[in-house]
Chain length 205, copies 2
DNA sequence: TTGATTTCTGACCGCATGGCCAAAATTTAG
DNA sequence: CTAAATTTTGGCCATGCGGTCAGAAATCAA
């Protein structure tokens, strides 16, 4: 590879190489969502992408880097969508409702990404056996949610409560909503999201 | 084996055999909690139990039966403890609070069981690749929680809301509480449980 | 004590995995 | 066109897996 290390630690990749990485990541998402993390072998992913197994080893340092890429790219997509929707909101209650509703809206069209993310989150482990992702990885997300709730408390909208407990519960409720929806595809996701937004808002008042 | 099939489909097991099964199940719980489902091989479990790998195959039909035994036994323990605590409660709010607090109390002394249960729940798959457990497995639990909430609505304690969404959220919030506590052992579990009980009660009023 | 039954051991099997690499194919640069 | 660089291929490897089995050991019944 001719690519060199840039100052920020990222490699400079050619357009073609980046396209290949994208293709492989997309295939990985599909395979993981279909057969689960444990059965998502490099061979299966390569087969799905229509390439030889060695290509993955050529473009990624190893399976772990590939999985991290999947997480990073899916996460980035979600964040981009949700943050754009939250731009207009003023009150904490609006922020809250917009967050719940927009996450649900985005995921309605991206079920496989959601499944794959959950699989990797639950199963990927570092070489030493420790979970690669976990609750501690969500720290940034928790802090973002906390700032919404604290905003509401400072404005006098919300009562006094432990913002960390609220943030953890908020995120868990959203995850559970998706898990339930996946198990019951006929379930009305939007209605669930509305109920959840009501529920959270009342819990704060 | 001399054991015969009894009318209820269960095998009649000698005291010694039952003890061995218990020992193996306990070893499995520990190993799964420590290294995760994917790395919890029969070899590791046998090593932990201080026996030869073949013994597991002798006492269990296969890995799947062993895992199901782990789930059944841990589930039974939790249910026994929590139901006993809820006997006295009258109002729906009391039932709610007692449920949250007693689950937390029981689990404070049984972290490994909790972790192992989660690992199996998320990872065990049938031979055809379909998840062995999943949200649909929680149906019974959801119905039990729903009955509490519906009870509150009928008594006029609680407002009108979708009891299924509330049950799903309730269970997810408890799971998240444990996950967070596992990642942050210094976290005050009892205080979290109290905050969560408040939160749920307010969400219903 | 003796013979039958249950339980355990340790070696072994077939299989799938992640990673590796020499050589072939393709693309790029001069 | 030619030569260098990049990318792909397909087979190979060591490892660990779940499961099996013959035979040893332990236990039990008479």
């Amino acid at each position: 590879m001719r690519s060199e290390i840039k100052p920020d630690g990222q490699k400079a990749r050619s357009f073609i190489e980046e396209a290949r990485r994208d293709q492989i990541v997309r295939a990985a998402v599909e395979v993981i969502a279909e057969v689960g993390f444990a059965r998502a072998s490099l061979a299966r992913i390569a087969q799905r992408a229509g390439i030889s197994k060695g290509v993955i080893s050529y473009h990624f340092a190893g399976k772990e880097e590939l999985m991290e890429q999947v997480v990073d790219r899916v996460y980035a997509q979600i964040g981009e969508f949700v943050l754009a929707r939250m731009e207009g909101a003023e009150s904490a209650a609006d922020l809250l409702r917009t967050h719940v509703m927009s996450v649900a809206e985005h995921m309605r069209g991206n079920r496989v990404q959601l499944t794959a993310l959950g699989e990797i989150f639950n199963n990927l482990r570092a070489a030493d056996g420790e979970p690669r992702y976990g609750v501690h990885t969500s720290e940034g997300l928790y802090q973002a949610l906390e700032s919404i709730y604290r905003h509401g408390q400072e404005r006098g909208e919300f009562r006094a409560f432990d913002v960390r407990v609220m943030a953890v519960t908020h995120q868990a409720a959203i995850d559970a909503m998706f898990a339930y929806w996946q198990a019951h595809p006929e379930h009305d996701l939007e209605a669930h999201a509305r109920q959840l937004a009501d529920l959270l808002e009342r819990a704060c008042s």
